[in-house]
């Protein structure tokens, strides 16, 4: 079977072949095909710019792979900020000896995800490191998007606003961890990894009352809520009973001693919106398969950045950022 060789990263013939035969073909991008040192792109006046690196282990997991993740991650960052994702750059760091077949699968998946999301891959790079100095495939993506009129601004958050989560919490983290721990549940837990710009961009365009959106990746929903509350200088009150979980994810987290509120999500967003439009926004999100479990989970109170959780019994506790043991290489 073909494997990645150090020579695939030397800038010579093999590098060229790799680019032409895998990346240009799988990404289906005319700009990339020009093979220039940079790409000239047309973009609106104000642009959003984001970057993210992906080192997830294993590179293939139920519900996705590192290629889909690398595309969706940056697309979602651009979208929740309040822009229409347009172009991506994709850089690979490959470990010598990685099966070529794995790279092709990852590139194909990244290309398919980009086409689904309507973003063009405009630039790329490939480096190869010696065996043992990396772990199969690492990817960095950067992306630009056209800024929309309305975009995420924490200072717009008002007391009385509603807090929405776009679906079940913790799926990606639970999928990776249960896969790594070798734990088999009744059915395989799938990562939620997906680009969401087809849901998020229309929301920004339709509702002025959306104050802020954010994707709860590493650190999970808990950490993201705390970050937003602190930036907005408001308290959040979350109702534990309203939090949507897949029962399998909840069980898996329990077996492994983890709180699903701190597990990573790769296909979810949190939105803080004017309470008057909360119902409409949730209904809109629920029309998409990626958002069928969307729910209002809480409200904004006067305060200074605490996230309070009302338990089903009626008691209150604080929700903090992730401070304990971090789970490495989740994305």
């Amino acid at each position: 079977m073909d494997k990645i060789l150090l020579a695939h990263g030397d800038g010579g013939l093999l590098t060229h072949r790799l680019i032409e035969e895998i990346f240009v073909r799988e990404f289906g991008s005319d700009i990339l095909g020009e093979m220039g040192d940079a790409a000239g792109i047309e973009c609106g006046k104000k642009i959003a710019f984001a970057t993210d690196s992906f080192v997830v282990s294993p590179i293939f997991f139920p519900g996705g792979d590192i290629g889909k993740l690398a595309c969706a991650g940056t697309v979602n960052d651009l979208s929740v900020y309040g822009s229409k994702p347009r172009f991506l750059s994709v850089s690979f760091i490959l470990e010598e000896g990685t099966p070529m077949e794995d790279l092709i699968k990852v590139a194909r998946s990244l290309g398919e995800t980009a086409r689904f999301a309507g973003v063009k891959i405009a630039a790329g790079d490939t480096k190869v490191v010696e065996k043992g100095k990396g772990d199969k495939i690492y990817i960095n993506t950067a992306g630009v998007g056209e800024m929309l009129d309305n975009f995420s601004q924490a200072h717009k958050i008002k007391t009385g606003d509603a807090i929405i989560v776009s679906g079940n919490i913790g799926d990606h983290g639970a999928a990776i961890i249960s896969r790594r721990a070798g734990i088999d549940f009744e059915s395989v837990i799938k990562s939620d990894c997906a680009p969401l710009n087809h849901i998020i961009v229309p929301l920004w365009e339709a509702y002025e009352g959306i104050r802020l959106m954010r994707d709860p990746t590493r650190g999970g929903v808990a950490t993201t809520l705390k970050e937003i509350a602190m930036q907005a200088s408001k308290d959040f009150l979350i109702y534990e009973e309203l939090l949507p979980f897949d029962p399998q994810v909840r069980s898996a987290a329990e077996v492994l001693g983890l709180d699903p509120l701190y597990l990573a999500n790769e296909g979810k967003f949190i939105a803080v919106v004017d309470a008057a439009i909360a119902g409409e926004v949730v209904n809109f999100i629920r029309r998409f398969p990626e958002g069928e479990n969307a729910a209002v989970i809480g409200e904004v109170l006067e305060g200074r950045g605490d996230v309070k959780v009302k338990t089903p019994l009626g008691g209150t506790k604080l929700l903090d950022m992730l401070t304990g043991e971090q789970l490495p290489r989740i994305c």
């Binding site: 009973e241 338990t311 089903p312 506790k317 604080l318 903090d320 401070t323 304990g324």
Partner: protein, 379 residues
């Protein structure tokens, strides 16, 4: 019934709310009678966390002081033992295997995490058996397992010793900092400065020891006690049982967790402990030496004892200045009464182990109740 269905039954908010409604007037009557707030103590890290997590601590705050005793094994591990573990990790070529909780616990000079970053081979495992596997896969290297835990954990470590024995492994050893719970409760009940009106006994430890093992609490100390499970309804039922005992002027050891805990406990697990370990005096952090409260490797199994195999010196142990972990562990002060709480000592830069372990009282108060003022918790 599937596990999840069983657990859901004990999580039903309606059932919990009904118990609460009956419980609160009872607690009020007790407090009237006592002329102060009732003091109950749990001695299990899982109770510490779940009482906060379920909202019970917040709901019962006006009626009862739910204190956390020495129930988190990492928290009661003495500084000298941690220093010893750090010294073992310094030995060239050894692989240290440990539960994740120990990684960030600071000793007198650094922590395992820092040593790992400096090049020591420290690996997190989920059980002693994983450590045995590591030894099997690395026959040319010494593998040391850091054994920390109470009666719940010890049988699994004993099982790993059995496995190592069967496999004839010569490169596997255990550093035993294991402890047993009952003697620590005697120390607490004999301390005139600690006022405990009732004990919430650890469900997991009781699965191994059996309900009967706690009878001395009622017979010798007249302390109302209940073996309690871990779901919201379990905990409320346990507190309710203690309230009933106190109102009736009784002291017994009730089993409020009968779906898991038997009279005699788990005989097979007890035999495993007895075969591989022998009881010895042990140093508890902040409490001092407690007679017959530690476990070290017994007789012929001493060959697996890392302390004997590797002659390292832990050096002089220093307890960090200002750290009040000892008083927190005895329930003498609330975590937020420690001068270092949430200032010099936080989960990201912990000074004492009660802030490191996710089951430590300080970590739980930091995480769930940081907004409470010192006075909110009562005396």
């Amino acid at each position: 019934m599937k596990l999840q269905e069983i657990l859901n039954k004990y999580r039903k908010p309606d059932m919990g709310k009904r118990i609460l409604k009956n419980l609160v007037p009872k607690l009020e009557r007790i407090n009237d009678r006592l002329g102060r707030k009732l003091n109950l103590m749990e001695v299990c890290g899982t109770h510490t966390v779940n009482i906060s997590q379920t909202g019970i601590r917040d709901l019962l705050l006006p009626y009862v002081n739910l204190k956390s005793g020495p129930g988190c094994p990492v928290c009661v591990t003495d500084n000298r033992e941690i220093d010893w573990m750090l010294a073992l990790a310094d030995i060239k070529g050894v692989i240290i295997t440990t539960f994740g909780d120990m990684m960030r616990v600071p000793g007198s000079r650094g922590s395992l995490v820092e040593q790992k970053a400096a090049g020591a081979d420290v690996r997190v495992v989920y059980s002693g058996l994983d450590a045995v596997k590591t030894a099997l896969n690395n026959p040319e290297r010494e593998v040391i397992f850091l054994g920390v835990g109470f009666e719940t954990t010890v049988p699994t470590v004993a099982a790993s010793l059995m496995e190592a024995e069967t496999l004839g492994l010569e490169n596997f050893s255990v550093f035993s900092a294991h402890k047993v719970v009952p003697p620590a409760l005697r120390i607490l009940l004999e301390d005139p400065e600690i006022k405990i009106d009732g004990l919430i006994l650890p469900g997991h430890v009781s699965v191994i020891l059996g309900r009967k093992a706690w009878d001395f609490l009622a017979e010798e100390y007249g302390c109302p006690s209940a073996v309690v499970g871990f779901e919201a309804v379990d905990i409320l039922l346990g507190v309710n049982n203690l309230a009933d005992q106190i109102l009736q002027g009784k002291a017994e050891v009730a089993n409020a967790y009968p779906r898991a805990v038997k009279e005699e406990g788990n005989k097979a697990a007890q035999e495993l402990i007895d075969r591989y370990f022998t009881v010895t005096d042990a140093q508890w952090r902040g409490i001092g030496t407690i007679p017959q409260s530690g476990l070290e490797l017994a007789g012929e199994f001493k060959k697996f004892n890392a302390k004997d195999r590797f002659h390292v010196s832990p050096g002089e142990s220093r307890v960090p200045k200002g750290c009040a972990c000892g008083d927190v562990l005895k329930g003498k002060i609330w975590p937020n009464q420690c001068p270092l709480f949430a200032g010099a000592c936080t989960p990201t830069s912990p000074v004492g182990p009660c802030m490191v372990s996710s089951e430590g009282a300080c970590a739980a108060y930091y995480r769930f109740h940081r907004n409470l003022k010192e006075g909110d918790l009562g005396g």
